[in-house]
Structure formats: C-alpha cells, structure tokens
C-alpha cells in the first residue's frame, strides 16, 4: 500500500518536473542567449550556457538604444496610473458603500457593467476623443484610460462595506469632515486591499500594449512593452541584443515577484477572488 503511494508520488514528481522545465526553459534561454555573441547564439549545436559570456548585448541595449528611456516611461505610466486608480477606486468605493444619493444604484450598475467590456471594443472612439482633446502622443493620454478601474471600484466598495458605520459616526461626532473620515479612517483600514489592487493595477498598466501602440508617435514616449516589440521587429537578426532587451524588461517584475511572492500572487489573481 505504502509502496504504491510512493511510486505514485514519483510519477507525479516526474510529470511536474517536466512541466517545470517547460515553464522555466524560456527564462533560462533568454538570459543565456543575452550573454552570447551573435556567432554563438546561432551556433549549431547550441550551447546551453554561454561559452564566452559577453556583456556586449547589454551594452548595446543600455547605451546605444532607448531602453532606459522606455523603462522610465513605463515606470511613470504604471506608477501614476496606479496611484490614480487607488485614489478613484477608494473614493468611489467609499461613496458607493457609505452614502445615499440619487441614481446611486443605476450608476453603480453601469460601472460594474463596463468591467468585462474589452478595451479593444471602444479604443477607436476613445482615440478620436483624445485627438480632439489634444492628448495624442502625450503621457497624459497614455495614463488617462488607466485612471479608473471598474473592478477596483467594485472591489473597494466590498471592502469598505465591512467597515462598521459606528466607526465613521464616531469620527464625525469628533468633528471630522467627510474628507477627514476618508483620509483618516477609511484609507488606513483599507491598506491591505489597496496593496493588492495596487500590484494588480501596476502589472496591468505595465503590460498595457495596444493603447500606447496607437496613441504614441514619438519614440521617446514609448513604454517598454511597445519599445521592445518595435526593437525586436527592427533588429530581428541581432538575437543577442533582442534577448538582452527582453531580459532587461523581465527583470523588474521577476525581482519584485521573488521578493513579495505571496502578496504578488494575491495581487495578480485579485480578480479571481471576487
């Protein structure tokens, strides 16, 4: 009986290890290729690890192309839009959870209804509006569609609903204005859902691809994702440099993931737990 269990476990491990190779090999391969010379990158048979590691590809990526600029642009877009989403979601979540006003359930219904509508279905009219507002090829235009999140509002409302009314009343009796109640009671009590929402949104904004692709014309305003895609199209044959670019754009999220692990998984799969 025990033996069959052990044999079964061995089989499970073998299958899981094969799966792990499938999961990890691309990662090994991108880092490996990024340290190879072009001759070695296309050598047959390929070497698993670089025989004569070179930093030349990283030199090309960091100093002879705009990757650092792309990277900073991405940080800017993701960070600002995440702050805005946290602000708008917590404010709206607070209002929808704790206030009564005319048209409240209709507005909430409309907001929730937009949750699963893909951005691709309304990007053309949005582009036309932004063109009229003069937002084409600007950072504000990049960030604006990411400033609100229907899921974020829904999620924050659910969390703020569980904060007892007595707490808010007590604060009001002590002379807090509505805004002070928001900033001194609601926000501190929503720290952990907001952290999860923040991680989720940062990753979403970071990977947002089609909007910068259509909105941005000047290269120096491109985000890392679009910049990398264009770089890869242009330098198609320079495998080492393209892989160095890919490795460079993987590293930030990979490092943050390995440090924060549980928090990160919780954030990334946030929409899964509603």
């Amino acid at each position: 009986m025990k033996k069959t269990v052990r044999a079964q476990n061995v089989i499970i491990h073998i299958i899981m290890i094969f799966g792990s190779i499938w999961m990890l090999f691309p990662l090994l391969w991108v880092f490996s290729t990024s340290f190879k010379t072009l001759e070695e990158a296309i050598a047959v048979p390929p070497t698993i690890l670089p025989a004569q590691p070179t930093l030349n590809n990283y030199y090309v990526v960091l100093f002879e192309s705009s990757f650092v600029r792309f990277f900073l642009n991405s940080i800017l877009v993701a960070a600002v839009s995440t702050l805005l989403v946290l602000l708008t979601s917590s404010l709206a979540g607070f209002i929808f959870a704790k206030y009564k006003f005319w048209g409240k359930s209709l507005l909430f219904l409309l907001i929730v209804a937009t949750t699963s509508i893909p951005f691709e279905t309304y990007m053309s009219p949005l582009y036309l509006i932004f063109r009229d507002l003069g937002l084409v090829d600007t950072y504000s235009g990049l960030i604006a569609p990411l400033a609100i999140s229907s899921f974020g509002i829904f999620f924050m409302r659910q969390n703020i609903l569980s904060i007892p009314d007595e707490l808010l009343d007590a604060a009001k009796i002590d002379g807090c204005s509505d805004f002070r109640v928001y900033s001194n009671v609601i926000l501190p009590l929503s720290r952990s859902p907001m952290a999860a929402l923040g991680i989720y949104n940062f990753m979403f904004a970071w990977g947002f691809f089609i909007w910068p692709l259509i909105l941005i014309n000047s290269e120096r305003k491109l985000t890392l994702e679009v910049g990398l895609a264009m770089y890869a199209q242009r330098k198609m044959m320079d495998y080492g440099a393209v892989m160095a670019g890919a490795a460079f754009s993987i590293l930030p999220s990979l490092i943050v993931f390995l440090i924060l692990r549980e928090r990160f998984v919780e954030g990334m799969t946030l929409t899964g737990f509603k």
Partner: protein
C-alpha cells in the same frame, strides 16, 4: 426657499456630490461615450481623412459578412479560444491537484508554475519567437535530433495559430493553478476521507466529489479565459506581424483586424463594426455565465 434648501443640502453633501460628479465625468469621457461611440460609428462610414461621415445603416456589417479577412479572423480567434480554454483548464486543474495531493516541494512547484504569469507578454512572446525561429531556434534543433524536418512554427499559416496558442497556455497555467488551489484547499477533508473509507478510487473521488464542489471555479475560469482569448492581440502582433521579412504572414485575429482597419487604413466606421461584433461575443459569454451561476443558486 426651495433654492435655499438645495444650496444648503449641496453644501452639507459637498464631499459626496463632488466625488460622484468627478467619477461620473471620468466614466463619461473614458468609458460611456467611447462605448456609445462604437455603436454610433458602426452605422457610419468614417474615413479619418474625409470630413463627412454619412450614415450607412447596416452597410458595414453587410461588408463584414463577405470580408474574407474578417471571417478568417473570427474563425482563428474561435479556434484559438476553443483550444486554449479546455487545454489550460484541464492542465492547470491537474497541476493544482498534484500540488494539493500532499507531495513534497509544493511551494517550489507553485513558484515555478507562476513565473510565466509574472513575465510581461511582449518579452514572453519575443523569447518564444526566438525559440520558434525556423533557422536557429532551439525547437527545430531539438526536432533535428530526432530526424524530424524543421518546422516554420510562426510562418506556416496553419501551424502559427497553434504555436501562439502554446505560448498562451504556457503563460496562463500558473494563474489558473492558483485559483484552482484556493478551491481545492476549501474541499472539506472529511468528504474525501469518507469516500476513501467507502472504497472509492482516487479517480472516482476526483470526478464525483472534487469536480462538483469546484464547479463554480471551473465556470469562472472558463469565462475569463474565453474572454481573454477573444481579446488576443499582443502575442499575435509581437510574434507574427512584419516577421521574417514578408507581409501577410500575420495570424489574423479580431483585435488585430480592428487595429488594422482603424489605425492603418483609418476606416473608423468599419473598425467599429468589427469592434461591435467582439463586444457582442463577450457580452453573450458574460450573460451565459451569469445565467449558469444563477441556475446553481
């Protein structure tokens, strides 16, 4: 008097009113008007270069039915979703079950299988494109070890769609796995132990007890994976557009057609008609999900 009352009430509810207006205006500009705009534009012919935009009724949709590119895109996207969703659901459920079966090193497996989720889509696509490279790619090298002819993974039009599907399965497995693990860990131990005492096999327990208990999670993942699949754009764009020096090798999918017609040919009306079809597909999936969930309750 009435006016005074209104002013006083506004002053008292200053915070609430201003937040509601703020959020409403943002939604108006960034969501409601653009979504309405898609409906409006899909009944108009609007080429960005021309100033007039005549109402054309259902003309755009009529053209769509005979547009072989769009039909191919619709078919490709459906095949993509039809392969991706069952494969990723079954595989991730098996992985989650294996991790939950009490073997060792589960924390390490959980970490490893989640890594592709963390890698942004563009670098992920670029890495796979390099592995799929017809001349120097590692996959064709591995095939050559078994004397199998090299394949044009991303150039061969029938193969390219499946090559892309494989990348997307690779990327989504860890996400589904984490959600399944939450569900599996909520299955009460006593149920499983009782079934085991009654002599049920591992397989019977899995089919008869575990699957029914996590059915809502399966349904949820099927829906979000399907919606995500119908939106596919980034891997297609990164892996097959303008690749290998030849034009027209890209895999046609709905979002790419919208992008192409709207922002390469500036046919906003036509692109909006395509967008409206995507909107309808996603809406139907969402409504069906709600229906199924309600049925259970």
């Amino acid at each position: 008097m009435g006016k005074n009352k209104l002013v006083r009430s506004l002053r008292r509810n200053y915070f609430c009113v201003s937040v509601v207006i703020f959020i409403f205006v943002l939604y108006l500009i960034l969501r409601f008007v653009p979504i309405g705009g898609t409906f409006y534009l899909s009944f108009h012919q609007w080429d960005l270069i021309k100033p007039d935009r005549p109402f054309v009724g259902l003309d755009n949709f009529r053209k769509l039915t005979s547009d072989f590119r769009f039909r191919e895109a619709l078919l490709n996207t459906t095949i993509f979703a039809g392969v991706l969703v069952p494969c990723s659901i079954v595989l991730s459920l098996l992985i989650a079950t294996a991790i939950n079966s009490g073997i060792k090193f589960t924390k390490i497996y959980e970490l490893i299988y989640f890594i592709p989720v963390v890698i942004p889509m563009v670098p992920a696509s670029i890495i796979w494109k390099w592995m799929y490279d017809p001349q120097y790619g590692i996959l064709n090298y591995l095939l050559s070890l078994f004397n199998i002819e090299p394949k044009a993974w991303l150039v061969d039009p029938t193969l390219a769609l499946y090559s892309i599907t494989l990348v997307c399965i690779w990327k989504v497995l860890g996400y589904n796995m984490v959600i399944f693990l939450v569900g599996l860990r909520n299955v009460p131990r006593t149920y499983l132990e009782a079934a085991e005492i009654d002599g049920a096999s591992w397989f019977q327990i899995f089919i008869r007890i575990v699957i029914p208990l996590i059915k809502p999670i399966i349904l949820y993942l099927v829906v979000i994976n399907t919606i995500d699949a119908f939106k596919i754009f980034t891997p297609v764009y990164t892996m097959t557009v303008g690749g290998q020096g030849s034009f027209g090798t890209e895999v046609k999918v709905i979002a790419y057609e919208i992008f192409q017609n709207g922002f390469r040919y500036f046919k906003m009306g036509y692109a909006s008609a395509e967008a409206l079809i995507l909107f309808l597909i996603v809406t139907v999936i969402t409504v069906v999900q709600f229906g199924l969930l309600r049925e259970r309750e």
